[in-house]
Amino acid sequence: MERRDFLKNLIVGGLVLKLPPGVLAQPSVPELAVVEGESPAAITREAIKVLGGMSRFISRGDKVLVKPNIGWDRTPEMAACTNPEVVAALVAMALEAGAKEVIVMDHTINQPKRCYARSGIQEAARSAGAKVLFTDEQRLKKMTIKGEWLKEWEVFQDFVEADKLINVPVAKVHSLSRVTLGLKNWLGAIGGNRNQLHQKIDQAVVDLGAFFKPALTVLDAYRVLFRNGPQGGRVSDTRLQKTVVAGVDPVAVDAYGATFFEIKPQELAFLRLAQNRGLGKFELEKVRIEKRAV
């Protein structure tokens, strides 16, 4: 070895050793990001950053559909619908990541225009750059769901045509499925007599979750509804949790969401069914979770 080569190696090697270990080692991105903080928008942004940034989920030119819960004619402090700032932050991030178009829609339970307006989501998402659309009966099409129980059902085509789906549910209690989180949120993407699904709700939400397969699930637990669900009605029915849970695995997100209500994930029938179906894992001890505070 010549002296010149030795010196060169020394410099290069020294530089390499100076770099943080993560760059060369296999990156270990957490499966679940749990971020707590005062600002709904900031914790949403941080959660996505923890997961590796929005460009991990959204490609340039994608048509993205963000699906919040806009089910009820309730203002944000009632925690019946997704926090508008969380929705707006995701819309903005998707556009920053190069999405061609971001649509925000939900098949509401109360009158659509009232839900869109009073939830604050229409205005927030629109000013973040999204197309906020009412669902349109003309766009319903009967589709093969291939579920254990649901074989076929009417689905709004906007959800099928989107390149990427981002599910943004709000954490609430429910008297039948005990909690309503990400998987149950897909009831807002379908038409038909949705209320019949309550006769076998756990299987129904798993079948729908398997059908829609979001690129990302972001659970809004900024304000959770712990009583009188799923629409509440008093601010005292809600509790500030100031948290957002994000992940690719919809089952893990819901499992974490259950813990806000002092419910063990294994107690929830739909999570067990979902894991058996291969949608994800609910045993949180097996999930790489990163918690942060902003």
Binding site: K113, R114, R118, Q199, I201, Q231, G233
Partner: protein
């Protein structure tokens, strides 16, 4: 002699047509604006037209023995009519514009051929007016059936609105079918924002009345305005001075009768001295059509002897008595003995007798209701309540945080409420039908009604219920139990119940806050509890 039509009156006629179109457009825009505007309170007074209608002021004030302040605006109409005659009918009335438009169409298509000497009496509208006013003395308010604004608005709200909605949906469907996705999207979003109600009970009946009124224009020009309109009759009575007076220049007149043939209301501009000024609506047709420009309407201050329609005293007396006799007949109804379970009134509705004395059946509340819950009654409210609003939970429910129907009532039959006040108003009570309810009857899980109950804490609570199935298994499920004190009767439970034909939970009017006698006597239960302990 030189034959030339008057340029001035030609343009005045055009101006009149333009004004009519403008006012009809205003009416239609306000009609479309009668919907949820994206915030809790309507910023514009969408029902403003009604406040300028003196017939509504007169009839509802007498019938209800109270004056609704906003209606006092109609005194402006009265003052203007005193001075200038019935120009309101010819220039401003939106129903008049509709009739004028169709009369014009029917004339062009030869479906209507105006006669030369039309001797048909113009008296019926006055007689209708006297019947209506006499009935109000006994608190019977019949004014809404033929009041032109109520008639037009009701027809639009209940009949035209569903047609528009259907048209929008179908054109959206067509756009998608042709692959024009963005057009389809634009149409569906417009429909979502307009929130037109798509279904009404009795829509066909109300539609038939409207079409009939339109088709009557094939018999006579402006048939409605000539023979039927009680508001026109009232204005005719008020038109005392008619400052712009018809004048025929005898030197120019060639006695062609054109003016008389084409007079929209048969006010007889010709022969000289025959002009019935209270019938004249100042449409300017006669002056514009006159081939020699012999007709003009110069301003003349002095009052002249009016030549009105000949209403002999006997007929006036007879019709007034008819009105007085009608009142008790209209009030014969089993509802006076027992309240109807289906008669669920909108929140803010006054107690039934006061409500009926004020409601003019205009349909404003039905139009504004965001969930299509309010419908024109046929039999639910008795003979005097036909077309009054009734909440039909199976079609729509009362949206919890919405007080829109209370904001648009033009006569105060529905008291204006803030959203905070409205959520406390009880309009009925929900009852579980255990023979149809899934957990009770079939042992299957379903909590849909509980989930939708908007009251907090919920008026529908869940109790554990055991149902023995034929297999001998006890199926334990959560089942609904209504807390009647907390229930406000909004009807969302009935609306969302999975049992489609006859829901397993239904709202009836009992417990409605506006009634003192349509109540359950709950304290009895409490006494029994005390006896037990």
């Amino acid at each position: 002699m030189k034959r030339e039509r008057s340029k001035k009156y030609f343009w005045l006629q055009r101006l009149r047509i333009l004004t009519q179109a403008g006012f009809f457009l205003l009416f239609f825009v306000l009609f479309l604006q009668t919907h949820y505007p994206g915030e809790d309170y309507l910023k514009i007074t969408v029902e403003r037209f009604f406040h300028f209608d003196p017939l509504l002021l007169l009839a509802t004030s007498i019938a209800s023995r109270a004056i609704f302040a906003a209606l006092l605006l109609s005194l402006i109409t009265v003052a203007a009519t005193l001075l200038f005659g019935r120009f309101v009918c010819g220039w401003l009335c939106p129903l008049g514009a509709v009739h004028q438009f169709f009369s014009f169409i029917f004339k062009k298509t030869r479906l209507l051929k105006p006669a030369r000497d039309d001797e048909a009496s113009l008296a019926p509208k006055y007689l209708i007016l006297f019947v209506v006013l006499a009935a109000t003395l006994l608190s019977l308010n019949l004014v809404g059936y033929l009041d032109p604004l109520s008639f037009l608005y009701r027809s639009f709200a209940v009949f035209i609105s569903p047609l528009l909605n259907l048209g929008l949906a179908q054109s959206g469907n067509l756009a998608y079918g042709l692959g024009l996705k963005s057009l389809g999207q634009a149409i569906s979003q417009t429909a979502g924002n307009l929130a037109l109600n798509g279904i009404f009970q009795n829509a066909l009946l109300i539609g038939v009345f409207f079409l009939l009124a339109v088709l009557l224009n094939t018999r006579k020009e402006r048939f409605w305005c000539r023979y039927l309109c009680p508001a026109g009759a009232l204005l005719a009575i008020f038109s005392r001075f008619n400052l712009f007076k018809l004048k025929i220049d005898p030197d120019k007149c060639i006695n062609c009768h054109l003016c008389s043939i084409h007079c929209q209301t048969n006010a007889r501009p010709y022969p000289v001295g025959e002009w019935r000024s209270p019938e004249c609506i100042y449409c300017e047709t006669c002056a514009a059509i006159c081939p020699t420009a012999a007709i003009s309407f110069p301003l003349r201050w002095q009052a002249e002897k009016m030549k009105g329609v000949n209403l002999d005293r006997r007929r006036v007396l007879l019709t007034s008595i008819t009105g007085l006799v009608l009142a008790p007949i209209f009030k014969i109804s089993p509802l006076r003995r027992r309240p109807s379970p289906a008669l669920i009134r909108p929140p803010g509705a006054l107690a039934e007798p006061e409500f009926l004395s004020r409601c003019v059946k205009c349909g404003e509340c039905m139009k504004v209701c965001p969930t299509n819950a309010l419908h024109p009654a046929l039999t639910e409210a008795g003979p005097e309540g036909v077309w009054t609003p009734v909440l039909v939970p199976r079609i729509g429910y009362c949206e919890y945080y919405c007080s829109l129907c209370t904001q648009v009532c033009p006569t105060g039959a529905i008291r204006e409420l803030t959203v905070e006040e409205k959520v406390t108003v009880k309009i009925g009570t929900a009852w579980v039908d255990k023979n149809r309810c899934l957990p009770y009857a079939l042992g299957k899980p379903c909590i849909v009604c509980e989930e939708h109950c908007p009251v907090s804490p919920k008026a529908i609570q869940l109790i554990k219920v055991d149902t023995l199935t034929p297999e001998g298994v006890l199926a334990t499920n959560l089942a609904p139990f209504v807390n009647v004190d907390a229930c406000i009767g909004c009807g969302i439970c009935e609306n969302k119940c999975v049992v489609q034909d006859l829901p397993a939970i239904r709202v009836s009017s009992v417990g409605e806050q506006r009634s003192s006698h349509n109540q359950l006597v709950l304290p009895v239960f409490e006494e029994q509890d005390e006896l037990k302990t």
